[in-house]
């Protein structure tokens, strides 16, 4: 990459984090470019990325929906038993003055991850099939990017582990099936994220 001389805008790329300007040649699959100044990855195209993203997103969607109705932690103490599903955890604050927190928890561990999965599928499916993008695809992808920091499924999982240890001296605790489903969702999402090249998606949406 070299500093640009003329002003053919389509062949230029600027680092969103530091404004450094570069010229891009034809980008092949497997190519990666980092900003020379701040090391931000400008693009990273990977082979079969679209297909991998779609399949992991589909699998995660199914797992998240199934996990909603299964217990992820079960405890018992003195003969009393209680299992808690994700929905129970999200609604823990419901009814009291802290119900706002319920909304935040539902949003960050269920609603936003699901919305992002859906938006990703909506944006990328036609692109992978070499069809023209579906209407509103640009807005869908932009929304999905805005929501990214607010979808906190992986943080919830660490929270689970911490509560488990907190609970061990209060009662007998067991991890339910939903916990392990959520673990696989997090892994799938990590794979999906590592294959996602935002620059390439925008490039493809423009056509």
């Amino acid at each position: 990459m070299t500093p640009p001389q003329n002003f053919d805008l389509k062949s230029l790329i600027a680092c969103p984090k530091c404004d450094a300007l570069y010229r891009v040649g034809p980008v092949e699959k497997g190519d990666q470019a980092k900003c020379l100044r701040c090391r931000t990855v400008l693009y990273a195209r990977r082979r079969d990325a679209g297909l991998i993203i779609i399949s992991t997103a589909l699998a995660s969607t199914i797992l998240v929906i199934a996990a909603l109705f299964l217990p992820f932690i079960e405890i018992s103490r003195l003969g009393f038993k209680n299992g808690s599903t994700l929905i129970d955890a999200a609604l823990a604050f419901y009814g009291g003055p802290l119900f706002v927190l319920s909304l935040a928890v539902i949003g960050s561990i269920i609603a936003l991850p699901l919305t992002r999965l859906f938006l990703t599928l909506y944006t990328l499916t036609p692109l992978v099939l070499n069809r023209p993008a579906w209407p509103g695809a640009k807005r869908a992808f932009r929304l999905s990017e805005t929501l990214r920091p607010w979808s906190m499924a992986e943080i919830f999982l660490v929270g689970c582990a911490v509560s488990l240890i907190k609970l061990t001296d209060l009662a007998r605790v067991e991890l339910g099936p939903a916990f392990w489903m959520f673990v696989s969702v997090i892994l799938l999402m990590a794979i999906q994220n590592s294959f996602m090249c935002r620059w390439s998606v925008w490039k493809a949406l423009e056509r």
Binding site: A89, F141, R198
Partner: protein
């Protein structure tokens, strides 16, 4: 020598990295609003920063959890809760909780304030190191939500009628607000401002 988009009379789109003439209001590829430098950035950073600090105070003063078992009932603030866990022997978990709920938020307040002051007043740190600090703050901010999730999980799981029950305290809401406000503060910061100060060309260089 790095050439920036602004040097060439261009503006970079912060979501798709495409480049446009500097007076264009919206990105032609993805529709994001274009700003060469976000002039309002620092004002928003400080506004959210103050909100975050203010919410953090009640988060530490009021109880996070009301625990009730057959024998006794207790109310725990964040710090008291962590020390109680440490007293039970789980030093690592106590460390995670203290790290996520006390050390990370405090470091974030200082880091964001430092970055914002560095942009206006200048700083000892080189731009590269300031940028690394910015990226760390952006990455780590969400993880403070762990404690809120732990409260949600504990409250939903531990509902064993008379044997044991846990209810959320006001501090959980204040703490969640503090985390969200601080995330918004960090997101408002325009990292391109970090690099602008070093862009004045050195006078000793004749070329």
């Amino acid at each position: 020598m790095i050439v920036t988009a602004r040097d060439k009379g261009l503006v970079c789109c912060q979501s798709c990295a495409r480049v446009w003439p500097i007076d264009q209001p919206h990105c032609g590829a993805c529709g994001t609003r274009l700003r060469s430098r976000d002039q309002m950035s620092l004002q928003r950073v400080w506004a959210w920063w103050i909100a975050g600090v203010l919410a953090y105070i009640p988060a530490n003063l009021y109880p996070m959890l009301h625990t009730r078992t057959l024998l006794h009932s207790s109310e725990d603030t964040i710090i008291a809760g962590a020390f109680e866990i440490a007293a039970h022997g789980s030093i690592i978990v106590a460390g995670i909780i203290l790290g996520a709920s006390v050390i990370i938020p405090l470091c974030k307040f200082f880091a964001i304030a430092y970055l914002a002051l560095a942009v206006t007043r200048g700083a000892h740190w080189p731009a590269r190191r300031q940028f690394v600090l910015y990226e760390v703050v952006e990455f780590i901010g969400r993880w403070s939500m762990i404690d809120v999730f732990v409260v949600a999980i504990l409250c939903s799981v531990v509902q064993l009628s008379v044997a044991a029950s846990i209810a959320p305290g006001v501090a959980a809401l204040a703490f969640a607000c503090s985390v969200i406000f601080t995330m918004l503060s960090a997101q408002s910061f325009d990292p391109r401002l970090i690099w602008d100060r070093i862009e004045t060309p050195p006078t000793k260089d004749a070329t």
